[in-house]
Subunit: 233 residues, 4 copies
């Protein structure tokens, strides 16, 4: 028994969704689940295949990135998670994958244009692609700086993390987050689908226009606005 | 027990086909099943994952879009379904998905050209893409107007809904329909396959010609004409 | 019991491979299995979903295309099969599908260029795409003429059906054949894979050269030549 | 019982991973597992479908390519494996597949550019594509020469087989290797994923730059360097 069983169970369940949704192979990708009151999160151990994971193999880490409990070494991306939890008070889960289409957009160093209502149901803006870090940051505390690269990109574009729950890190791959780890996983799957459809849209019509503002507003508000009527009350 | 158990069962079964056919993820998409004599249809509740659906969770709605029976809120697209049922006397099922390739064509705002016999087996014309609505319609009763956008597009092109059972709504995604919900689901899967093959055809040969009229006529008539010889008598 | 149980069983088993290999959805596609001594073949009934097929539902047809035994109407493509069996003495199975990539090449009306050894393991030439028929043939006995269109295309290019066991019918879709229905199904799956890789090859390098003759010869002969050393003796 | 049961079991298990990972269909592809002390390797028999394989059907071959034990004929690519084992003292497994995307790059005769960290996690260089062999080599001892073609390509580029564990053979398909057959299979799956993402990257941005050196170095070293912190100690 541990004080942390609830977030270990949540992180385990969310990690196991990744291969089911086709977002990872082998040991790629990781999900964390935070308990904000306790100031810690549970995260996938590094380099362990999904089929060998158990709730107990999850590692407990604090928001400074220090391991609090667990026999295994945490994900090599742990410090990126820690930075985001420390600075973003209202998130409870973070996901990192190398899913095929989202990663291709990250490698291409392009924002994903908002072409349709599937995108607008989840975001009112192009999905941002943060530029690759400068060499000093890469050679320094790389995963820690990755967290700042993500935050700086949102700040530069005046986006709020509560509204835009996904980003591409240029040359690398996507990160998503949410109030819960389940929501963060959902966001990773939505991002992958939106990324694929955006490429196909450009292939079908290289001059496809971005979605017009009235439709962006309508679709986002019917799902997320004060008078939303999507889902159950 | 309810007067509506038969359409609840039919709507449930048809909705459950969507994830099996790879046409939806999570809560995206919805199927309705109408009883035209009773003047109502059963439709998927809004925002409920497919694995949690039961026949009893289907919501019964009349052709004005008012809920008649059911504890849950119906799909946010319900009013689009209602408009189509009210105006099209001979349909018994409607499907809306955000399937990958059909949605990409909708986002690209292009009709799907008729390139081959797979297309001609089901339609004699390019699959129409309705233009995005004007801003007044979007800001008004959006889902209601979506229904009119679909009907107006067919009318403008002098197409009959009994013959062309599928459409793309520009910037949004496909709708299909049919005499039964099963047929409407079948049409959604056919549309997705035709949409993928049309993109691939243009990639293989950017100057690929449309199918010639004699082949369009032959394939459609062998499946749907008075002397059709496809399927069982 | 029937004289034809062996070819009914063979045709049934081969038909059931098509959805497993991802080559068909719904009722698309059909396989036949011939008994050349009896002068008949067993073929899928028209418009019956794969999950409803049984060996007994196969229809027995002679090489003139006349039904010999069976309660159901045979595949609408039956006369194409009959023509090929009548003229090609050494084939025992025929497959027709609308598999995604092969059909896209047929719609694009292009031969599939021989780009690599995967192709050369099975064919020494580009996979031919027969031109669409002229209107008189289409309006006449369409499926019968489709058989001649296939044979004429091979003849025009001086190809032997014993060596080239696959073809695209322009604007339509692929046909494959072989000594057995299993081999014909295998050929359909190989064709689909070769068709996908050829498109990807052109996307990666629009000036990709065809495979050079020495490699074509080597790969085909190690699998099919008199001194072949692929497979078991 | 045989002295070779351990490598038969290893080769069997690794071969069975290929269809599970979507890297092969039918009889395509082969994995071998070496015992360097005994100077032999176990390899898939030629032309046998994966579902019919058993550990006992694996063939034992020495590093000259001669069969030492086994009733079946070994893979037609056996001599390529033998050459590599004989010259590369530190590998224990080799894989050959015709996986879709890697084969398409081989057919296009292009190296796979290093576009992102998924690639850099496994390799610091573009994945090399060896040129097709000259005609004399093809007409001679083809599979034997294929092994030299692979070694020569690495030598020409001053790459070490211990660091670059994958290659494309121009016009043909990929080979991968590793200290164990499991690692070689892992490399084949990574290569296929990297190959797909590289094509998508170029489609999204035809001017996508290669990954910068600082990121290449960082990602490779965090997984493979002396101070690596990926995986468990």
């Amino acid at each position: 028994m541990s004080h942390y069983d609830h977030i270990k169970a949540a992180a385990y369940a969310a990690n196991m969704q990744l291969p089911k949704l086709g977002l990872v192979v082998f040991t790629f990708g990781n999900v964390s689940a935070a308990d904000r009151a306790l100031g810690v999160f549970a995260i996938k151990p590094s380099g362990v295949p999904y089929e060998d994971l158990t709730p107990d193999s999850m590692v407990i880490v604090d928001f400074e990135g220090k391991t609090v409990e667990g026999k295994l070494r945490p994900s090599s991306d742990t410090r990126t998670h820690a930075v985001l939890y420390r600075h973003w008070a209202h998130i409870g889960g973070i996901v990192h994958t190398h899913s095929t289409y989202a990663t291709a957009w990250a490698q291409a160093q392009r924002d994903i244009p908002i072409f349709g209502t599937t995108h607008a149901d989840h975001n009112t803006v192009d999905i941002p692609c943060a530029p690759p870090m400068d060499d000093a940051m890469i050679q320094g505390d790389y995963e820690y700086e990755t967290g700042f690269q993500i935050m700086n990109c949102l700040n530069d574009r005046k986006l709020r993390y509560e509204e835009v729950e996904m980003i591409l890190v240029g040359n690398h791959a996507p990160f998503t987050w949410g109030k819960t780890p389940e929501k963060a996983v959902y966001n990773s799957a939505v991002l992958e689908s939106v990324a694929q459809m955006a490429l196909l849209t450009e292939q079908i019509n290289p001059r496809a226009p971005r979605l017009k503002d009235s439709l962006i507003k309508k679709h986002f508000e019917r799902k997320h606005g004060p008078d939303s009527y999507y889902g159950q009350a």
